[in-house]
Amino acid sequence: MSENILSVKGVHKSFGGVHALKGVDLTIKKGEVHCLAGENGCGKSTIIKVISGVHKPDSGEVELNGKKYTSITPSEAIEAGVQIIYQDFSVFPNLTVMENLAINKALASKKKFINKKEFRRIAEEAVNKINFKVDLDALVEDLPVADKQLIAISRALLADAKLIIMDEPTTTLTKTEVKRLFEIIEDLKEQGVTILFVSHKLDEVYEICDSITIFRNGENVLSCQVSEMDDEKFAYYMTGRKFDSQNIKQNAKAGDSILEVKNLSAPGFDNVNFNLRKGEVLGISGQLGSGRTELSLALFGLLKPYEGSIVVDGKEVNITSPAKAQELGIALVPEDRLTEGLFLSQSIKRNINVTKLDELSSKLGVMNITALTDESKGWVKNIGVKTKDHEYPVQTLSGGNQQKVVLARWLATNPNVLILNAPTVGVDIGAKHDIHTLLRNLANEGRGIIVVSDDVKELVDVCDRVMVMQQGKIINEIASGDLNADMLSQYI
C-alpha cells in the first residue's frame, strides 16, 4: 500500500477557452493536513471537483487509496471516504437543516427508509460537534450565508471520512468559529483523518497545515512542508512576483467628491457612509456575506435601499435600475463573470456592444452596425483582448480576456464612477497587472474607482484607502499610509 491517500497526476480541464487546470499534480500523504493555496481562480475548486467526480477531467488520473480512476463518480468518491465542504456549500435550500445534515450520511449508508428520530439525532450530533446553534427545523433557504457554511462544515464532519476536503471553509466564519474549526481539524488529525485545506490566507496555513501545494493559474508551482515556507516565498509562488515589486500608485491627488453615500441601508448592509473623490481608488473588503457585494449592487440600482441617500456629483439621486446608474455615469463590473457578466455563447462583439445600443442606434431603434463594429474592434485592440476575431463566442476566451471584455463594455460608457467586484478573480498574472494598471490610469484621468475584493495584495497594490465591512457594517477604514497586507489580513 502506498502512504499517499490521494495522488492526482497530469489533470487537464478546460471550460471553453478557460484552461482551469493545465496538467496539475497533487499528492497528499495519509494523516496529514495538506494545504492547497493559490489566488482566486487558479483552479483550486476545479481540482476538488475533479477529485469528487463532479467534473470529468479532459485528461489525467486520480488515485484514491491506491485505486486509480480515470473518471470517478460522486458516489464512488464518497464511498472511497472522501467528504467535501464545497466553496458554494452545496446545501438543499428547500429542505430543513436537519435533513440537510443527515441526508448525506443516510445516503452513504445506503439506507432505504427514513427514521426522523435518527435524523434528528444525527443532526444534533453534527451541530454539537462545532457548537453551532441553529433551529433544526428551519428551512435552509431562510438562513444567512454564514449558517449555510456551518451546515456544510458540520455535514462533512459527520461521515466517517478518510479524507476531508475543505474548500475555503472560513470565508464567512468569525474568529471564534475559525478557532473551533481548527480544534476540530486537530482532533480529526489525531484520529487519522487526512485533511485537504484550501485557503489563500497565509496565517491559516501556518496555523494548522503540515504541507502545502501552491497553484498558480492552473499549474502547480510548489509542493513542500509548511516549515520550509516563509511569507515572501508564499507570496512569490502565489502571485509569481516579488512581494513589493509592483508600484503603480503614482500619488494621485484626489479631487472633488464624485460619489457620496449617507446612512445607506439595504438588505445585507446597514448605515453605510463614505465619500469617493475624483481620482481615488477606494477598496471595500470583508468576508463573504459581509455586505460588500450588496453595497455594490445598491450603488448600481440592483438592490433597493431602505433608507439613506446617494449623492452623485453634488446631486442627490435615486438609482432605481442599472440603466439609471449608467445614465448617472456609474458602472459595475460584477462579481461573477460567468453568470452576471457575460453572455457566454454570444460573440465578443455583442458582449461589448450591449451598453452602447442606445447611443449607436437611430431614433427608431435601428442599429448602426458599422459604428458598433468599430466600437467593439476598437476596444478589443485598446484593452488587449487576445482573440482572432471579435465575432467569436466570448466563452472561447481565457478568464483574463473575458474580464477585459466586461471591462470594455463599461469603459465604453465612459463612466465617472467605476465599481469593480472581484475584478481579477480567475485572471492570469499578465492580465491582472494590465487591469490594475488600467485602474490606476482611469483614476488619474479623474474618475472615481471602487474595488470590492478580498484579495489583500490587490487592495494594497491599487487602493488609496480600504474600508472593511463585517456583518453589514463598515468596521474600519485604513488610509493610504497605514495600508499594508498584514494590517488588512487581520480584518478579512
Binding site: S14, G16, G17, H19, F300, L302, S321, P322, A323, A325, Q326, L332, P334, T339, E340, G341, L342, F343, L344, S345, Q346, S347, R350, N353, V354, T355, L357, D358, S361, L364, G365, V366, M367, I369, K388, D389, E391, Y392, P393, T396, R409
Partner: protein, 342 residues
C-alpha cells in the same frame, strides 16, 4: 494557422441547422414531386399550401420570438381566436347597414379592434411574465384559458359567422401572380420580423436576455420593458393570424385550431430556436414553416393516412429535432473549444 477553419466555426451553429432544414425541405419536396407529381406540382396545390401556412406561420413567429427571449407563448392560438371574434363581432355590428367606402372604413375599424385585442393580450402576458415574475410557461398557460374563456363569454360559446363577403373576398380571394394576398402579407411580416430581430437594438436585446437574463440585468438592459414588448409583438402577430383566418373561413370560434399550439412549437424547434433561449433565426422559422406545410400537404394526398397520424409524426419530429440539434451543438462546442485551445 487554422484561421479559415475557425472562421467558419463561429457561424457553424446557425448554418448547421439551416443547412439541415434546407436539405430536408428539398428532399421532401423531391419525394413529393416524384411520388405524386400531378397532385403535388399543381398550381392549385401551391395556392392552397401558401394559404394554409400563413396562419400558423404567423403564430410560430410569435412563439419563436418568445422562445428566443427565454420564455414561451402558449396563448397565441387563443389570442388569434379572440382577435378574430372581436373583429368579426365589431364588423357585424358596424357593417350591417353600411355600403361603399363607408364599409371599407368599418372593416378597417374592425380589423384595428382585432389588432388592439392582440396588443392588449400580449401586453398582459408580458406584464405577468416580467413584472410579476410568473414563469412564461405558466403565465401563458393561464392566459390561454383566460383568453379562451373571454372568447367564449363574448361569443356566447358559438361560432361567429355572417362576416361581410367583401372582407373575405378582399383578403382571402385576391391573388397576385396566382399567389394569394395573405401569403404576401405573411412574407412581408417575415421580412419585417427578420429586420427587427437582426437589425434593431430591441432584437439584439431579446437575444441577450434569452442567453442570460441575469447578465442582461447587470448590463443595464431594461428587462421588463423588452419582455413586455416581446410578448406584445407575439400578441400582434397572433391577432394578425386570427384576422386572416377570419377572412379565410368567414367565421371564428373560441376553440379553433387547438392543435396549432403543438404545431407552432414544432416549427419553432425545427427552425433551430433553442428552447432555453438566446439562439435561433427567424429565417429558420420560415424554412421550418414551409417544410412542415409541404409534409402536411404531401400526407394529405394519402387519404388512407388518418389525420391523427400527423400528430404522431409532429410529436416524433419535435423530439427528434431536439435531439439532433442537441448532439450537433455539442459537437460544435467541442470543436470550437479544441480550435481555440492552441
Amino acid at each position: 494557422m487554422k484561421l479559415l477553419k475557425n472562421n467558419s466555426l463561429s457561424l457553424n451553429q446557425l448554418d448547421g441547422n439551416t443547412a439541415r432544414l434546407l436539405t430536408m425541405f428539398v428532399a421532401i419536396f423531391l419525394v413529393a414531386s416524384l411520388t405524386k407529381p400531378d397532385m403535388f406540382l399543381s398550381s392549385g396545390n401551391f395556392q392552397s399550401m401558401s394559404k394554409q401556412l400563413v396562419e400558423y406561420g404567423l403564430l410560430s413567429l410569435g412563439v419563436g420570438i418568445a422562445m428566443i427571449s427565454g420564455g414561451i407563448d402558449l396563448s397565441v392560438v387563443y389570442i388569434a381566436n379572440l382577435s378574430a371574434i372581436v373583429t368579426g363581432m365589431v364588423m357585424k355590428a358596424l357593417v350591417l347597414t353600411a355600403v361603399g367606402p363607408e364599409l371599407l372604413l368599418f372593416i378597417l375599424i374592425a380589423v384595428l379592434a382585432g389588432v388592439l385585442t392582440g396588443f392588449l393580450c400580449g401586453a398582459f402576458n408580458g406584464f405577468l411574465i416580467s413584472k410579476l415574475h410568473i414563469p412564461a410557461m405558466l403565465a401563458t398557460l393561464g392566459t390561454m384559458q383566460l383568453y379562451m374563456g373571454i372568447a367564449i363569454i363574448i361569443s356566447g360559446g358559438s361560432t361567429v359567422s355572417g362576416i361581410p363577403r367583401v372582407f373575405s373576398q378582399l383578403i382571402s380571394n385576391s391573388y397576385l401572380f396566382g399567389i394569394p394576398l395573405s401569403f404576401f402579407i405573411y412574407l412581408f411580416v417575415v421580412g419585417f420580423i427578420i429586420f427587427i430581430m437582426s437589425k434593431t437594438k430591441f432584437g439584439m436585446r431579446v437575444f441577450l436576455i434569452g442567453t442570460n437574463a441575469r447578465a442582461a440585468a447587470f448590463s443595464g438592459i431594461k428587462i421588463n420593458n423588452v419582455l413586455i414588448k416581446t410578448y406584445i409583438l407575439s400578441g400582434l402577430l397572433a391577432s394578425l393570424a386570427g384576422i386572416l383566418s377570419l377572412a379565410r373561413l368567414s367565421s371564428a370560434k373560441a376553440d379553433f385550431g387547438s392543435s396549432y399550439i403543438m404545431q407552432t412549437i414544432l416549427i419553432v424547434v425545427l427552425g433551430g430556436i433553442n428552447p432555453n433561449g438566446g439562439y435561433g433565426t427567424i429565417r429558420g422559422i420560415f424554412l421550418a414553416t414551409i417544410t412542415v406545410q409541404v409534409i402536411s400537404s404531401f400526407l394529405n394526398m394519402f387519404p388512407e393516412i388518418s389525420n391523427y397520424y400527423r400528430d404522431l409524426i409532429w410529436g416524433v419530429a419535435v423530439i427528434g429535432v431536439l435531439i439532433v440539434n442537441f448532439s450537433a451543438n455539442k459537437k460544435t462546442t467541442a470543436k470550437l473549444a479544441k480550435a481555440t485551445a492552441n
